[in-house]
């Protein structure tokens, strides 16, 4: 089925805008695999004449920016943050939604209250606490304070409130308590919400900058975003290495997107409705 003449202009506009949105990605590849001379050449070439894959080796061998170590830090932080947040927030959400307790509402409001104040504004107080614990420049300091996402707990609580009670009743009849019902019945039947919240937490953690910048003062504790930023504000900037580093930093998330896009979109929709 071909587009009708009335649709054609709209389709062209969409294609043009889509191409425009793709330009930054194109620039990463073009500049990352070019030589410095190609990038700064006066005439614009669509792509560098030859692809310089040896740039990859050069980037990871550059002693000025510890790229490999920063990638490792980011991976460890993002994985542990995602796992920890999912565990803590889903348990809390289930308890709030399903385990009767006379003051459950008050506990819920105490959690919601912390949502009012965005975490970005509280980085000074959090820094005060983390530095007095001696956690500056440690993975602990980068991970643990970020694990208690009221927003994730809120999403899980809303989701579990609508979870079909018949399934739990059946488990109860089989003699399962709250704990085993949760792990054997509720969690296996809630994979999409775990995937959605998990993907959003993972992306947020991988891309976060302010907190790792404040806490990761020592180069050993740099995340990939902090390493990139130090690249960009350095005295002399090595352009092709920088663009390649930015492209490499994005690869894990592109994989996450490719695998989980459906869940991420569902998660964003949920976010917006409740936000």
């Amino acid at each position: 089925m071909l587009p009708s003449p009335r649709e054609l202009p709209r389709l062209m506009l969409l294609l043009f805008l889509a191409a425009l949105f793709g330009v930054p990605f194109y620039l990463l590849v073009r500049n990352g695999l070019a030589t410095e001379a190609d990038i700064t050449a006066p005439g614009w070439t669509i792509l560098a004449r030859t692809w310089h894959w040896e740039n990859v080796g050069e980037l990871f061998a550059d002693p000025a920016v510890p790229m490999a170590h920063a990638l490792w830090n980011s991976a460890v932080i993002a994985v542990l943050t995602t796992g920890g947040t999912l565990l803590l927030a889903s348990l809390a959400g289930y308890g709030l939604a399903r385990v009767p307790y006379p003051y459950a509402d008050q506990v819920f409001y105490a959690i919601l209250g912390s949502l009012m104040i965005p975490s970005a504004v509280t980085f000074v107080p959090s820094f005060v606490l983390v530095s007095s614990l001696g956690w500056v420049s440690t993975l602990r300091g980068l991970i643990i304070p970020t694990l208690f996402s009221a927003f994730a707990a809120f999403l899980f609580r809303q989701y579990f409130s609508g979870f079909p009670g018949e399934l739990e009743d059946a488990a109860r009849v089989d003699g399962l308590g709250y704990w085993r019902t949760y792990w054997r019945i509720v969690v296996p039947n809630s994979r999409p919400v775990f995937a959605a919240v998990g993907a959003i937490v993972f992306i947020g953690s991988w891309n976060s900058f302010l907190w790792p910048l404040v806490i990761g003062q020592d180069q050993r504790a740099w995340t990939v975003q902090v390493a990139l930023a130090s690249f960009g504000t350095a005295q002399t900037i090595n352009l092709h290495e920088l663009f390649l580093a930015a492209a490499v930093s994005m690869l894990p998330l592109l994989v996450v997107f490719a695998v989980l896009q459906r869940h991420i979109v569902a998660g964003v929709e949920r976010t917006g409705i409740d936000g």
């Binding site: 930054p24 006379p102 506990v107 105490a110 007095s132 917006g272």
Partner: protein
């Protein structure tokens, strides 16, 4: 500690074991999270509010009480008021721009009969990019002030002179760079919200409008689509304002260099960052600033929610 709290809740003799056990289970599920939230969110907040009343330069255990001195110092600091002005200008650009672009894209994608999923993915993909990486692409490639920058190359094709973009200390050029990077990064997120909103509009409304003689296009948008998107629009605007207030990453990465951050175009968080963690390490002033900013966010959120819900017929 947490496990005990529930026990006192209700104690009917004889049936004690039942509810008591359930209360225990409630705290087994929510206890770890609540404890962490108290330790890592509420304690720092309380601590910081305390610090804001003390002279806390380079210390987290101050002893010199200064009352509201820190608050007075922040509120009379021209850099602080300038940071609020910077936020206001930023929000004035980014909120309407993102709103219009995301809604426009959503309408286009929603009505497309071809490759809907593909277009949504393309516009959504920048969400995977970090503010740091995007800022570097903007700063060093697209809006690089030298001749080989992409924007300047395009300008040259049209015979225009190159622009120094970020190196000019006077507005408006650096605003164009700052606003477009966030626009690119977040438009896809709000596009998805609008698409979800568009899908919730019942098709019968459009059929009824067609029967009443409404022409497709502007009229149906003005009288059906736009009013039906009201809830989504309120959420989008609220999120846009709050996120703009917290802007840090792109300002820091676009504007700072080996020489440091320029004295202009500092939004609130950048101001806070340099006051509390910069050379002065003044945690008292920094805490006072954080408290004021948090209060502003709470007031803006509540006011906006009130204002929008007042006009709603329910």
């Amino acid at each position: 500690m947490a496990g005990r709290v529930g026990v006192s809740g209700s104690a009917v003799p004889g049936r004690l074991l039942g509810p008591q056990r359930r209360h225990l289970w409630f705290w087994i599920f929510t206890g770890p999270f609540v404890l962490g939230l108290v330790v890592f969110v509420y304690v720092p907040l309380a601590w910081s509010i305390t610090l804001s009343f003390f002279d806390s330069r380079n210390t987290v255990t101050p002893s010199h009480f200064v009352g509201l001195g820190n608050y007075a110092a922040v509120l009379t600091d021209p850099a602080f008021t300038a940071s609020l002005a910077t936020f206001a200008v930023f929000a004035l650009f980014i909120v309407p721009a993102t709103y219009v672009l995301a809604l426009g894209l959503a309408l286009l994608v929603h009505r497309a009969r071809f490759a809907k999923g593909f277009f949504r993915s393309v516009f959504f993909l920048p969400t995977a990019c970090s503010y740091v990486a995007a800022s570097l692409i903007w700063k060093l490639s697209i809006f690089n002030g030298v001749r080989f920058g992409l924007a300047n190359t395009v300008l040259r094709w049209f015979g225009a002179d190159p622009v120094a973009w970020l190196s000019t200390t006077q507005p408006p050029w650096y605003w164009l760079v700052i606003v477009t990077v966030r626009l690119w990064l977040q438009a896809g997120f709000y596009l998805v919200l609008f698409l979800a909103g568009l899908q919730r509009i019942p098709g019968t409304l459009y059929e009824a409008a067609a029967v009443d003689g409404a022409r497709p296009g502007w009229q149906t948008f003005r009288y059906i689509t736009f009013p039906q998107l009201r809830t989504t629009s309120v959420a989008v605007v609220l999120l846009l304002v709050i996120n703009a207030f917290q802007a840090f990453d792109e300002f820091y990465n676009l504007l700072s260099s080996a020489k440091g951050y320029p004295p202009y175009a500092r939004p609130p968080l950048v101001y806070l960052y340099y006051v509390a963690l910069g050379e002065r390490q003044d945690l008292g002033i920094g805490s006072a600033g954080a408290v004021i900013l948090a209060l502003i966010i709470v007031v803006v959120t509540v006011a906006q929610a009130r204002w929008f819900s007042l006009g709603r017929k329910e």
